[in-house]
């Protein structure tokens, strides 16, 4: 039961999905990601993904059905395989394959954002896709967006890892103080306030969640689409803007890039923030949560790697310190 064997099995599945059985000279499968919550392997035009071992089968089926649905065409990358005859019974559909107990799905390969050239990242396109997703009428029923649960998981991981060497021994305490300033819903302990809760959200937006599809050699690739629906669900759409907002608030993301992203979202009629003026009344709580999540993961990772937090990670820790020092009324549970 190693991730290597999962990756091998996924490579075989992706390769089978790439063409009918025959002898071939395909390149060996390529591992695109290998984390406990998702292993992704590519063989040519097909990508196989093993989902988290604890993924709820019926929630996953609902999320896959959403990605395959015409209502998210042009927003979410659809999975491979014939669309299920509607309505697909929960736990059925394309998640039927498993590898070592983990549900496996197949996807077309899309070209990602070049990690070596983040300046060329499609910030406006990402914002437009989010606005369209947030405006999409959600299926009923549909599972909750998992953003707050992931923030809670990051804090738990930081606590389990202990302090990294050489850093500020109080950094973990500062992150926890910032965490405690958040209302319960942002910590995954309560439902989001009703007036902000009913929107279709991605739940884990970052630049690795965008691909161009179809991939065409020699001619421009297809349009940008969002991938990875594992955390998608109903929730506060401001959560999907909160990671860039947190980077901006920490001083990492320039004002120019932030405003390009925010303005494109507003121009597309995104409902997460007011149409004009200061967007921070809506962004504040989710951006604080993503700041804590990022800082907590930075401490956990640097502890695991036996190093102190680096300069960028310390800017996120500094933001936590400022959050923790805010006057108490901003932490009132009624804040939304």
């Amino acid at each position: 039961m190693t991730t290597a064997s999962v990756a091998r099995a996924l490579g075989g599945l992706a390769h089978q999905g790439a063409h009918p059985p025959a002898s071939c000279d395909c390149a060996p499968p390529e591992v695109l990601a290998d984390r406990p919550d998702g292993t992704v392997v590519r063989s040519g035009p097909v990508v196989a993904k093993a989902h988290a071992p604890d993924a709820d089968p019926s929630d996953l089926a609902a999320r896959l059905a959403l990605a395959a649905s015409p209502r998210t065409a042009g927003i979410l990358l659809p999975p491979l395989g014939a669309p299920p005859a509607p309505p697909a019974p929960p736990g059925d559909a394309r998640a039927a394959r498993t590898v070592e107990g983990r549900a496996v799905t197949l996807w077309p390969y899309g070209r990602p954002v070049d990690p070596a050239d983040p300046d060329a990242a499609p910030w406006e396109e990402a914002a437009v896709l989010l606005a369209r997703l947030h405006r999409t009428p959600p299926p009923d029923p549909f599972p909750p967006m998992r953003g707050p649960a992931k923030a809670a998981r990051a804090v738990a991981r930081m606590r389990a890892a202990g302090p990294p060497p050489g850093g500020d021994p109080d950094a973990g305490r500062t992150v926890l103080a910032a965490w405690r300033s958040l209302p319960g819903w942002a910590r995954g302990e309560a439902p989001a306030p009703a007036h902000r809760a009913g929107f279709l959200c991605h739940g884990d937006l970052h630049l690795g969640q965008l691909v161009r599809h179809p991939v065409r050699d020699g001619t421009p690739d297809g349009r940008w689409l969002l991938i990875d629906v594992d955390d998608a669900g109903l929730g506060d759409p401001a959560w999907d803007l909160a990671r860039p907002a947190a980077w901006y608030a920490a001083g990492l993301l320039g004002t120019g890039v932030w405003l390009r992203f925010l303005d494109a979202y507003r121009a597309e009629g995104g409902p997460a923030v007011r149409a004009a003026g200061d967007p921070w009344p809506e962004l504040d709580v989710p951006a604080r949560a993503l700041t804590v999540q990022t800082a907590a993961l930075a401490l956990a990772k640097s502890a695991a790697e036996g190093r102190g937090p680096d300069e960028v990670e310390r800017l996120m820790l500094d933001a936590c310190a400022r959050i923790a020092s805010l006057p108490g009324e901003l932490a009132a549970p009624s804040a939304s």
Binding site: D119, D168, D204, W247, L253, P279, L283, T294, G308, A319
Partner: protein, 103 residues
């Protein structure tokens, strides 16, 4: 990498306006090499000599802007206002690149 003389945390090297400084990851104390304080003082005096700026002459075209965006709203807990993004442009930090692409 050397240790902070005060709290024994790790010291990290930064470049501020061409001056190398070492800052402790623990207590945030700063260590300056010989001549660095003088370099900073010189930079500071250059800055104060420039201020206050003369009122700009009327111009037919807007000048090439150092700050192409007006001040944008931020949260109460945000960092000091910034324009380029400390890690944007040509000096993008590898660590921020990783952060942009990960959960």
């Amino acid at each position: 990498m050397f240790q902070c003389p005060k709290c024994h945390g790790q010291m990290h090297t930064y470049n501020r306006n061409g001056v190398q400084i070492e800052q402790c990851g623990g207590c945030r104390g700063i260590f300056l090499d010989y001549g660095e304080l003088e370099s900073l003082t010189r930079l500071e005096s250059q800055w104060t000599q420039q201020a206050p700026p003369a009122p700009p002459a009327p111009q037919a075209y807007p000048p090439a802007q150092q700050q192409p965006y007006p001040a944008a709203p931020g949260p109460a807990w945000g960092a000091a206002p910034h324009q380029g993004g400390h890690y944007g442009g040509h000096h993008r930090h590898k660590s921020f690149g990783r952060m942009l692409f990960s959960s």
